[in-house]
């Protein structure tokens, strides 16, 4: 058995980006099937346009339409694409300077082997079937066919000032998803394995003698590694708590519920857990509670094996016994 427990985690959210007027103008162009650059105070035409001029620091307001055809200025080969890249087969990333622009744009180039790509080759935009106002409206670049006219729909466009659009793009939704393996420390793993056997395990700091649950590997107060294992009582005292009435994204427990710090007998730090078996408004600081476990067949290596804590019915603990834990 591995020394530590691991489990996969996915952190994912659809972020809603405000583009601002400059990137918004670029995305509006893509939606409408044209590539918009921005002219800098030095006369450069940059795609996508810079939000602020690198010399004067003023917002970019001089937009120009550039060609959808351009020249590869550098490239790299992607032999093994990863998830969410433009292709699920080998492809190139290329820097393409579009005709009418003076700085390159990075995008994917659809070729089947590195022999099919070279600096100086002529390529054009392949538009996505459906355009929404995002960089993915350019599906990729593709080589011009042999003998195909080497100019795009717009000729030497950089002199052409573009007008504002009627319905500009102001935002994009950017889904971000991060997958990783959560690795519990050896000491936490001891705690979670204990829970799998119906026990609550802590560790005592050899320096300050405080008992930590879950164990922290090193004492947070003095940094000493913790080794001595302590099995804790399954009964404790509510030090303080809140009643969660507010629903929120990703919530696992339906509100209202009582989230409480429970100081287990023999421990020097409280654990946060759920209180049930009593109306929320009757939960008190000092209330004595005990662990209520899920049916054994549902146990995993988790604090969730304890379904909740419920009142023991004993008299409340005296404030002095837990006031140093607030």
């Amino acid at each position: 058995m591995s020394r530590t427990l691991q489990a996969p985690v996915t952190v994912a959210f659809d972020y809603t980006r405000s583009t601002g007027p400059v990137i918004g103008r670029f995305f509006s162009g893509l939606r409408d099937g044209v590539v918009i650059g921005g002219r800098t105070s030095a006369g450069e035409v940059v795609v996508p346009p810079l939000e602020f001029d690198p010399v004067t620091h003023e917002p970019t307001t001089d937009f120009v339409e550039v060609s959808s055809v351009g020249t590869v200025t550098s490239w790299t080969w992607v032999p093994e694409p990863v998830k969410a890249q433009p292709f699920d087969r080998p492809f190139a990333f290329a820097l393409v300077t579009l005709d009418g622009a003076t700085a390159p744009l990075l995008h994917a180039l659809d070729v089947t082997s590195p022999e099919d790509v070279s600096t100086g080759m002529r390529v054009r935009v392949r538009w996505a079937a459906e355009r929404t106002g995002a960089i993915t409206d350019i599906a990729c670049f593709e080589p011009l066919a042999p003998g195909e006219a080497s100019t795009g729909s717009t000729n030497e466009a950089s002199s052409q000032v573009v007008e504002p659009v009627e319905t500009p793009v102001t935002g994009v939704v950017v889904p971000v998803s991060l997958d990783y393996d959560y690795a519990a420390s050896p000491e936490e793993s001891l705690f979670y394995r204990g829970l799998n056997e119906g026990k609550i395990m802590g560790q005592r700091c050899p320096t300050c003698q405080k008992v930590y649950v879950p164990p922290r590997s090193a004492c947070p107060a003095d940094g000493t590694p913790t080794e001595e294992e302590v099995e804790l009582s399954q009964t404790g005292t509510i030090t303080t708590f809140c009643i969660v009435n507010v629903p929120f994204l990703g919530q696992k427990i339906t509100p209202p519920y009582v989230s409480a710090y429970v100081l287990l007998d023999g421990a020097d730090i409280a654990v946060l857990h759920l209180i049930l078996g009593v109306p929320a408004e009757e939960v008190r600081m000092g209330m004595r509670v005990k662990a209520v476990w899920k049916p054994k067949e549902e146990w995993t290596f988790s604090l969730e094996n304890i379904d909740h804590f419920a009142p023991t019915g004993d008299p409340d603990a005296d404030f002095d016994t837990y006031k140093h834990h607030l």
Binding site: S18, G20, A221, V244, S259, A260, L274, L303
Partner: protein
Amino acid sequence: MGKQPAAIIGVGQTHHRAKREDVSMAGLCREAIDRALADANLSLDDIDAIVVGKAPDLFEGVMMPELFLAEALGAAGKPLLRVHTAGSVGGSTAIVASSLVQAGVHKRVLTVAYEKQSESNAMWALSVPLPFNMPVHAGAGGYFAPHVRSYIRRSQAPTHVGAIVAAKDRTNALKNPYAHLHNEGTTVETVLASQMLWDPIRYDETCPSSDGACALVIVDEDTAASSPNPAWIHGTVMRSEATTAAERDQVNPQAGRDAAAALWKQAGITNPIEEIDAAEIYVPFSWFEPMWLENLGFAAEGDGWKLTEAGETAMDGRIPVNCSGGVLSSNPIGASGMLRFGEAALQVRGAAGEHQVDGARRALGHAYGGGSQFFAMWVVGSEKPSN
């Protein structure tokens, strides 16, 4: 050689709103920066270095946003630093910027802090369930509510004190054109009648979720000579502590007490409540006003609520707290600490507009972050410090 004198000569902030969909992150920062530079009568070309701060990356899903922001912030060809201390970051960012001037490394430093909460969901970002753990976490409110309950129990405070703070700060915000919330007619009664979210914290006792930015221009003595009203830095302190040590005091954290003691000493202050004319204290949930009054030494332990209840933290009280409306009225998380620091500077510059405390000479800016784990604070004054 000791510290070089340093002063704030430019303060800029955005109009804070729930959603600033009209600007990008870069545009939001520039709105604050351009106002701060105009206030300082300087341009980006005059700036030697830039220090940027924002709250944890997961809040907006941009890893190291300083990379893509560098050009918009005018940082090309200059040093660019990012500071990261959770909710206190706006304060610690300003302190790092001021230390560059106080150390004599740079003469004119621009600092900016921002948050665009509308692009994400901070409650979600603070409550991502981890394997093996009990999913009882419920955002910042869920984290702090039990500690507020502990404060009420320890201090025996009447339960309406939190509502007094909320009504005061929301009313102060009516005098601040940049504030996010302009809720007319907020009273103790209306706050008490609002929904209980994280019992004992009610809806009206919580901060809003805001988009916004704040920027400061911090300069050396020579540059400050050109300003009609520099805010001189009299002291800066940061302190941290472990989040989860056994018997850690979450109501009156040691790091905050130590930071305050060091700050008053640096600034030559022996009786804060008499010597500080205005305080901008990081109060995201109303009860943190009395809690931090005690932690900062404005009141003895257990007595903070008595100042609040007696009206002493109102604009005409002994220690006006959060005349700007505070975090309870605008909370672009990454910028919230810098707003406290900047509002303190505005007070001693006589530039706070309708929420100016008459004749304010010394003011406190304060921020905290994490699980009350990071503290950052400064004292600014209208006079150059003598020490």
